[in-house]
């Protein structure tokens, strides 16, 4: 990892659909070097994948998302890791983080409807060993995700020419 890798990662994080050629031009590097750097970053699992930020609500998808906070008793020798990894295996768990504050773990779960989400929580999450308490918050509307605002911002008026 060096300064150039950081620039490369920032470019890809913002738009992973740019071609290697375009990135090479922007970074003033040979195409082959950019390709090799991307490969190395993928091999090192620093680049974990390429995804698309979708405004599902606008796409007509009525999936429900919920943020669920969990109080967990950590295990000797493993802390929160084993239970976190267990939770990660569920397809429904989209995001999982260890957090400070009243709760220990925070997961983001998606499902077809509220019933599906609540069934998942009550049948699979809450009964797990070491989970002492859960608090479920249904997502009502997403305004911003991963740096992308989901509401239309008016175009700013600019003069066609200024000196």
């Amino acid at each position: 990892m060096d300064e150039k890798d950081l620039v490369l990662l920032k470019i890809l994080e913002e738009n992973s659909r740019l071609s290697v050629d375009e990135i090479a031009t922007m970074m003033s590097l040979p195409t082959s070097e950019v390709a090799a750097r991307v490969q190395a970053l993928e091999a090192a699992r620093i680049i974990k994948g390429y995804s698309t930020v979708v405004n599902w609500e606008k796409a007509g998808n009525d999936e429900v998302a919920a943020i669920i906070e969990l109080k967990v008793s950590p295990e000797r020798d493993f802390g929160y890791d084993r239970i976190a990894e267990r939770l990660c295996r569920f397809r429904q768990v989209r995001t999982l983080r260890l957090i400070t504050g009243t709760y220990d773990l925070q997961i983001i779960v998606t499902g077809k409807n509220m019933q599906e989400v609540s069934r998942f929580v009550s049948e699979h999450v809450a009964p797990m060993d070491r989970i002492r308490e859960t608090a479920t918050h249904i997502v009502m509307k997403t305004y911003k995700e991963n740096g992308n605002a989901f509401f239309e911002q008016p175009e700013t008026e600019r003069l066609p020419y200024t000196m």
Binding site: V7, K10, I11, E22, T25, M26, M27, S28, T156, R158, L159, P160, Y161, T162, M163
Partner: protein, 385 residues
């Protein structure tokens, strides 16, 4: 009735791009590379602090010099960033943009008949400001051969007994040229030998890509005879806030302050509050904008050279200044036909004075998508010639 318009006002040339402006307003779907301002919005933390100050009722005048907190923060910022030392109480005035800073600087040091050397191509207001102050603008040509740096020999040729001051602007609008410390040293020798004053407009100082900006007043013994002008517009995407600053040795600064207090009273208070916040918390925002300009520059310069508009690599600001010589068209013809036929707006280089003819100023402070599309259209235009 008499003609009430003063001789001086008549003497100032009208804007060189009026006809382009009128033309573009009749067209849709124009990609404009003609705008000399960042396309980013002002970072929200800056806006928020200014909004809050308005809610708190901070809507009166500030002192003539500007908010103490802003001057103190600036003084520290300049020392840390450029090793530039100015006392916030006696050597600094907050101005309404660099435009005002330039005007009061020129007026503070120009007597009728004084010759003011101007490194050109240059921002369009230098000449008129000198004329309005009663001075005589004397262009000094910077050439493509020198990558549009100011060449000491060209400067020496234009110095006369009447020469009083020299205006430079690096990183440069419209060429993107920068001057390194050694470039400036060569100029400093002449300035000192001929007892000139230097007015250095450094509004693009933060947009210096290859190396850290070298501020003229830090070179040789220039500090005593330099007025440094700078502002928040370009670095922090704050053009509409109108906040600049003038720094100079006490005596000159006092003279500029006197003019400022009569013609401006103070710079906009809300803008000054925003500027304080910019220095306090917008470093990261600024860096990410600068990084983005660099990527766009590389994309755009490579594209210009590919489509047949040779262009040196501009090391600062956000302008490319390609040559149209090979196309057989003049810069004005090229710009006008390109706009009519392919709806890409650029500014003919001759607008910026001597040395600008045969070139175009293209501002790459637009999205990468628009830059790519502009290049595509320019290629079609050139292939159709």
């Amino acid at each position: 009735m008499r003609n009430f318009v003063s001789g001086r006002a008549q003497e100032i040339p009208p804007s060189g791009i009026r006809k382009f402006f009128d033309l573009v307003l009749t067209m849709d779907d124009v990609i404009s590379l003609g705008v000399g301002e960042p396309d980013f919005r002002t970072p929200w933390n800056i806006c928020e602090s200014s909004i809050y100050s308005i809610e708190q009722g901070t809507t009166s005048y500030t002192s003539n010099r500007g908010l103490q907190s802003l001057r103190d923060a600036l003084s520290r910022h300049l020392a840390r960033t450029y090793n530039l030392r100015y006392n916030s109480n006696s050597e600094m005035v907050i101005t309404t943009g660099v435009s005002e800073g330039l005007d009061i600087a020129v007026r503070a040091v120009t007597d009728p008949g004084d010759e003011v050397l101007i490194a050109q191509p240059s921002y369009v207001s230098y000449g008129p400001c000198v004329t309005l102050a009663g001075g005589i603008p004397v262009p000094v040509r910077c050439t493509e051969k020198d990558h549009f740096k100011l060449n000491p020999d060209s400067l020496a040729e234009k110095i006369t007994k009447k020469s009083k001051s020299l205006i430079i602007n690096f990183p440069n609008n419209p060429t993107g040229a920068v001057m390194t410390e050694s470039d400036l040293k060569a100029i400093a020798d002449l300035v000192i030998d001929h007892d000139l004053l230097l007015i250095s407009d450094e509004v693009y100082s933060e947009l210096s890509y290859e190396k850290r900006h070298c501020s003229a007043a830090t070179v040789s013994d220039l500090w005593d005879r330099t007025i440094t002008l700078n502002g928040f517009s370009k670095a922090y995407a704050m053009t509409g806030w109108r906040i600049g600053y003038l720094c100079a040795p006490r005596e000159i600064c006092d003279a500029a302050l006197k003019i400022h207090q009569y013609v401006m009273l103070c710079a906009p208070t809300m803008g000054q509050v925003g500027a304080v916040e910019a220095l306090r918390s917008a470093e990261e925002d600024k860096n990410s904008m600068v990084n983005e300009y660099l990527l766009r520059r590389n994309l755009f310069i490579a594209g210009l050279n590919r489509v047949g508009l040779p262009c040196h690599v501009p090391e600062g600001a956000f302008y490319a200044f390609p040559s149209v010589e090979k196309t057989g068209l003049s810069d004005v013809e090229f710009a006008e036909q390109l706009l009519r036929e392919q709806k890409v707006a650029v500014v003919p280089g001759s607008v910026f004075g001597e040395g600008g003819e045969g070139h175009l100023r293209c501002a790459y402070a637009v999205s990468r998508k628009d830059l790519t599309e502009a290049l595509r259209r320019m290629e079609i235009f050139i292939n159709g010639l």
